[in-house]
Symmetry: C2
Subunit: 444 residues, 2 copies
């Protein structure tokens, strides 16, 4: 099967009116979440170092670096915004494997700014881009990932190429080339996890995918079987290849419907504990003084990954279920601020987390939790979390996403600017020029 060409044809022939309203709304939710992640990490050392390296070579100020004052050419905007949106590991996650937004939205938003493209077209291109990257990724998953490829980079480049190619109105032939040019730039090793290069992967995927679409628009040719050929992407980079996955149920199954958003700025296995603590805090107006002790029944994996009792840095705090429970009970949230270096050393938080004990329970799933709180007045509160907030079974509400965004933008953009971006994201399909979102995310 000529799956590269078939996928190209599906992308080119896709029409906006075929996308269901709930899928288009999911694109708006992903956009708001993605913007928050990019803005929130925009002053991180990873982004600072990258900008110091590349700004001397940037072109015309065509597109905004979110959360900062710099404007650069669209290729560099795609790179830097792709990096920043993944730095906190707080961006969205497809239920099976890839982070869909970080490679795609940076390419698209930059193109929108440069060309004045509408929000409806942006949403449409994003939806087909997510289809392309998830389907190509899933066609070689999980073997491809197990070999050592960081699939957000390796498959993400297809998403960026497909989505940018859609905005550039490529022909079927050009889209076939764009996917091939993406295939031959597919890269990103899992060995880089823990270094700044992890975020480089979606950034370079966004930039290279955008570049692939621009090259194809100018008739720069590639193989026409870039995905499926004997020496193409799938067979060279995986031991498994199921091409049917790429085309099956096109237009019926929407990968974006399997998208998840993390409510809390730490690992998946701690999300349930935080969720339970926040629920009890809010329902009983708990303050730290009221709390005598906290007991958590957690899955064995929590012991393995996040049993750090006395974290000393923000990063260590993300691997401390004790700290996570304490900030959840004290502040009712667990965003980047609560996992900052200062946040983990705060004496009131330290005092509260010393009251937390954990108990291994084989019956508790990896994203589940069971929280017991004993109050000084003798009462006992408890909450079992079957599905943590942010899973497909219990998605974050639009209001949850707004609060997450506000937490990320806090201290970087003025509150009115943050509110304006929220408004623009919900109304994205009505915007004549979606670039307005990026410009609203410029720092003073």
């Amino acid at each position: 099967m000529a799956v590269t060409r078939t996928l190209a044809r599906y992308i080119v022939q896709s029409r906006h009116e075929e996308i269901p309203a709930d899928v288009r709304h999911e694109a708006a939710r992903a956009l708001l979440n993605w913007c928050g992640c990019a803005i929130g990490a925009s002053r991180h050392e990873t982004v600072n170092n990258m900008l110091a390296a590349v700004l001397p070579f940037a072109g015309e100020p065509q597109a905004q670096i979110l959360g900062r004052s710099e404007r650069v050419d669209i290729l560099h905007a795609a790179l830097v915004n792709g990096v920043s949106s993944h730095v906190f590991d707080f961006d969205d996650t497809h239920a099976r494997a890839i982070h869909p937004s970080a490679p795609v939205y940076p390419a698209l938003l930059a193109l929108c700014e440069w060309k004045g493209i509408s929000g409806a077209d942006l949403v449409h291109a994003f939806v087909v881009g997510v289809e392309a990257e998830c389907r190509v990724g899933l066609s070689v998953f999980p073997e491809h990932y197990m070999i050592g490829w960081h699939i957000t980079g390796t498959a993400g480049v297809f998403g960026a190429a497909a989505a940018a190619g859609k905005l550039l109105e490529l022909s079927e032939q050009q889209m076939t080339w764009a996917l091939g040019i993406a295939a031959t730039q597919s890269s990103g090793l899992r060995e880089m996890f823990g270094s700044m290069c992890k975020s480089l992967h979606p950034g370079r995927a966004a930039q290279n995918g955008l570049n692939a679409a621009l090259l194809a628009a100018n008739n720069f040719t590639s193989s026409e079987q870039g995905i499926e050929a004997k020496r193409g992407f799938a067979q060279v980079m995986s031991t498994k290849f199921d091409p049917e996955v790429i085309t099956a149920e096109w237009g019926k199954r929407w990968e974006l419907s399997s998208n998840m958003y993390k409510p809390f700025a730490c690992g998946l296995v701690v999300q349930g504990t935080i969720d339970g603590c926040i629920q009890l805090r809010n329902e009983h107006q708990l303050t730290p003084e009221m709390i005598a002790s906290v007991e958590l029944k957690v899955s064995p994996i929590v012991f393995e990954l996040t049993a750090k009792e006395n974290p000393q840095t923000g990063l260590e705090g993300k691997f401390s279920v004790f700290h996570a429970a304490a900030v959840a009970l004290r502040f009712g949230r667990a965003g980047e601020a609560e996992f900052s270096d200062a946040g983990v050393l705060d004496s009131a938080t330290v005092a509260l987390r010393k009251k937390v004990r954990i108990e291994r329970d084989e019956s508790i799933g990896r994203v589940q939790s069971h929280v017991y709180i004993r109050l000084r007045d003798g009462r006992t509160l408890e909450r079992r979390i079957e599905h943590a907030l942010g899973t497909l079974e219990r998605p974050m509400s639009d209001a949850d996403l707004e609060n997450k965004f506000l937490g990320l933008a806090d201290g970087i953009l003025a509150r009115e600017r943050a509110d304006e971006i929220i408004r623009l994201c919900w109304a994205v399909e009505t915007l004549p020029d979606a670039g307005v979102i990026a410009r609203a995310a410029a720092a003073a």
Copy 2:
């Protein structure tokens, strides 16, 4: 063994005075050959299409696109000059696998122009870059190539990163990161052969390698075992990995000494025939009118690949041993001009190639040939070529390289400019600012 760090240390500690004079002269030969290839293909459709795609995003005019008038930022100069120098498949070839110059010289020459770096430093950086890319490539070769990776791209990025990092005077720690950033961007599929993407590979390797060095110079971190780790370059991208190859005999064995230059603008298996024809032509002052018939004894592979009797385009001409023999006898050369569309349709050339017959001979090796010429005056001439010009056994002379360069530059740069570049390349180690070479290659 921590081979990434060891390689980084070797590169950082390398000193110019340790490079033997013949290796440094080979760097000058490679530079002249590389410049010619880049200039010669600078107006090719591949380069035109790429420039149309990327010029709107280029930055300050820091570096020259060879053979053209445009000046762009160094990252784009590295990309475009890397592409153009590989378009004709006329660039240098290491005896075992990689095209060494196309990923490395574009990055270095752009850096020299931007920073005003000396020719001695350029030569030194090139030599260590070639060591890095050839040794990393050979550590996974041939399995890596057989899987489907285009090693000029996948290993070339290490060469560009190492060489650019040397010019940027990276610390050992930074060089280790630069190699890791290169590793995680390593890409390029052999499936792309026959399309414009084949040339994209060394171009992107040059650009990404240069970018890796710039990022590392600004303390952008990567894994410190980018090459050897379980999920690093070698184990993910090959079934064979011999880390010893990377470090063995460092400073004693010089990979650049195994570099070869193609004298004629066509496939390897035809080089011997052209060589023999030119020798007989020059020794006997042959003109087409003197020739009654030509008989070539050739290896079976010549029948398989290049037995096209009546080519109609320049590209077909490259796969016609008949055409190759005819132009060699008529013009005493076989450069890009002789393999142009007009060149293969020229009536005098067509008449001469009709006099050529070929005969299969199992005893003739793939780069050997045996030429018989029967003259109208009854004489018979013959020449057996054991080692075609350009092989390690019979390298092109400096004068041969000058003639090749002049042929490539003809019609693009004025003759005085071409002569000036030849002079600058031979004197490269005396240049206070090697960027003068790139500026001399600017078209009016």
